[in-house]
């Protein structure tokens, strides 16, 4: 078995694409761009120029106007800015908000914080196959509902919500709709030009861009006014002040451009890897697939067994880098709430392994992961006491 690190944790963070690194390097070193993009002097204007270009690159990926994008430090901040921002601006109109139990922590914890402040949050459970049914959302919307936030692709399972359908319901009912697209941006087609989506969060490091940079798409600044989280200079329409990180923005822009070009190839590649991986482990006794092939993003394959300790399974998987549903790999100390919301038992959630892969993953990587997974499960099982 391999001793070299095999990285299958692309849903957590992706390596920087070589072309992105090159674009950032060119910006800083070759073109010697370092000015403050808010400065009017020549050095500042050089920076503003590449920032504008990057904004266009991201806008092209989403098929929106570049002016609709606000740079942030990542999807955690984008989610918070969208959710807290709308909730606070609209609190005089109503304090009811809607989201799902299976959202990312950056959404869940934001709504929990708002609950502590007196907002009322409806937590919708996923239905069949992890999906939120349109009528369930429709029934949850009240007269005082101000915001619905539903993620696009789930970070643990890859389950993909029908955001267009859900967005249409929000639009019909006059409720703002936010989408956490941290896992889908740059990976699946996302045409926002006439999508019923008011706000959308993305982050660079999930699609081969740099860590520490993301964006929030805001369809209509007037229709969906947002209270900022931080105050300061006038950058980003006062919604997100602070000196713009020019090389990061250049990197994110280039990553968006590459993603736009490569998307079909990427997806084809991921589908093949996904099939190969599942084929290699589907016959492990009692293995469960968390999320079906039809409704899941192919870059993620999440599987559970109920009879092995999650933490030991993770150690047994080394040097294959995967993510687990177990308590010990998270700071929260509890097994995956996402998998439990899908109906998995504590033990099933604890024994879950998320394989996630990407553009640079090879068949050999997948084969090494299969071999290691089978071996680890076998070892754990052979070590276990009788029932």
């Amino acid at each position: 078995m391999t001793d070299a690190i095999v990285y299958l944790d692309f849903a957590s963070t992706t390596p920087l694409a070589a072309d992105v690194a090159a674009a950032m390097h060119e910006c800083t070193a070759a073109e010697n761009i370092y000015g403050n993009a808010a400065s009017q002097h020549p050095a500042g204007r050089k920076s503003a120029l590449v920032v504008d270009h990057a904004r266009q690159q991201v806008a092209t990926l989403l098929n929106v106007e570049p002016e609709r994008l606000i740079w942030t430090s990542g999807a955690t901040e984008s989610n918070n800015l969208a959710i807290q921002g709308v909730a606070r601006t609209r609190q005089h109109r109503g304090k009811h908000l809607i989201t799902m139990l299976t959202e990312h922590k950056a959404v869940v914890d934001t709504f929990r914080a708002l609950e502590r402040e007196g907002y009322v949050v409806t937590w919708l459970a996923p239905g069949e196959g992890g999906l939120l049914a349109a009528d369930v959302l429709a029934d949850a919307i009240r007269a005082d509902t101000q915001l619905v936030s539903i993620m696009h692709i789930n970070n643990e399972t890859g389950i993909t919500q029908n955001i267009h359908e859900l967005g249409h319901i929000c639009r019909e009912r006059g409720v703002s709709f936010h989408v956490d697209a941290a896992q889908s941006t740059g990976k699946v087609r996302l045409d926002l030009s006439d999508a019923p989506i008011d706000l959308l969060s993305l982050t660079g490091h999930k699609f081969y861009g740099p860590q520490g940079i993301g964006a929030l798409y805001i369809a209509d600044f007037a229709a969906v006014p947002i209270t900022p989280l931080v105050f300061g200079g006038g950058q980003e329409r006062r919604l997100r002040p602070g000196t713009l990180p020019v090389p990061l923005i250049v990197g994110l822009g280039r990553a968006a451009e590459i993603a736009h070009e490569q998307m079909d190839n990427d997806l084809r590649h991921l589908r093949a890897l996904n099939r190969r991986l599942w084929k290699g482990i589907a016959d492990v006794a009692d293995v469960l697939r968390n999320g079906s092939a039809e409704q899941c993003f192919p870059g993620i394959l999440n599987v559970s067994v109920a009879d092995v300790n999650g933490e030991s399974l993770m150690l047994g998987m080394e040097p294959i880098c995967v993510s687990s549903g177990s308590a010990c790999n998270s700071t929260s100390g509890e097994s995956s709430y996402v998998l439990r919301a899908l109906g998995r038992s504590d033990r099933e959630a604890d024994g879950a392994v998320r394989f996630s892969f990407g553009r640079t993953t090879t068949n050999d990587d997948i084969d090494a992961a299969i071999e290691r997974y089978r071996y680890a499960i076998k070892q754990m099982r052979s070590l276990a006491p009788g029932p």
Binding site: D307, V308, N309, E311, S312, L315, G316, A327, C328, D346, R347, D350, M380, S382, L383, A384, P385, G386
Partner: protein, 130 residues
């Protein structure tokens, strides 16, 4: 091993290649096994000892547990062999935890091992009295 590794090299070695994993056949004067299950995380640990002439001739374990408890069980079995059965009661789990650099939040879990050994000691004392 990297300094921020949650498992030290001893944990890794015991985990990846435990010498005392398994069961014992009835070739000893006394063979006794005890299992303790921890209710919260669902960890389970079985230790089996084989006694000949008042000495622990062999010790084995089985575990469905985290790497630290697996390693602790392995070290305990190694340490118990060739001890008198008093060793089951004198067992110093804190010394083992130090050797394994068990993080504070996990100490509770490792105490399962003490429970198993205490149970074993009681069983054996009883079977000797019978």
């Amino acid at each position: 091993m990297m300094p921020n590794d949650p498992y030290n090299q001893l944990v890794r070695d015991c985990f990846s290649d435990p010498q005392h994993a398994g069961d014992l056949t009835n070739e000893y004067q006394i063979t006794s096994a005890a299992t303790v299950a921890e209710s919260v995380a669902g960890d389970r640990l079985t230790v089996t000892v084989g006694i000949d002439d008042g000495l622990i001739a062999a010790a084995r374990f089985r575990a469905d547990a985290c790497p630290h408890l697996i390693a602790a069980a392995e070290l305990a079995c190694t340490g118990l062999e060739n001890q008198t059965i008093g060793g089951l009661r004198d067992f110093d789990s804190h010394k083992i935890m130090r050797r394994l650099s068990v993080p504070p939040e996990k100490i509770g879990k490792i105490l399962v091992l003490e429970d198993v050994l205490t149970t074993l000691a009681q069983q054996i004392e009883q079977s000797i009295q019978e």
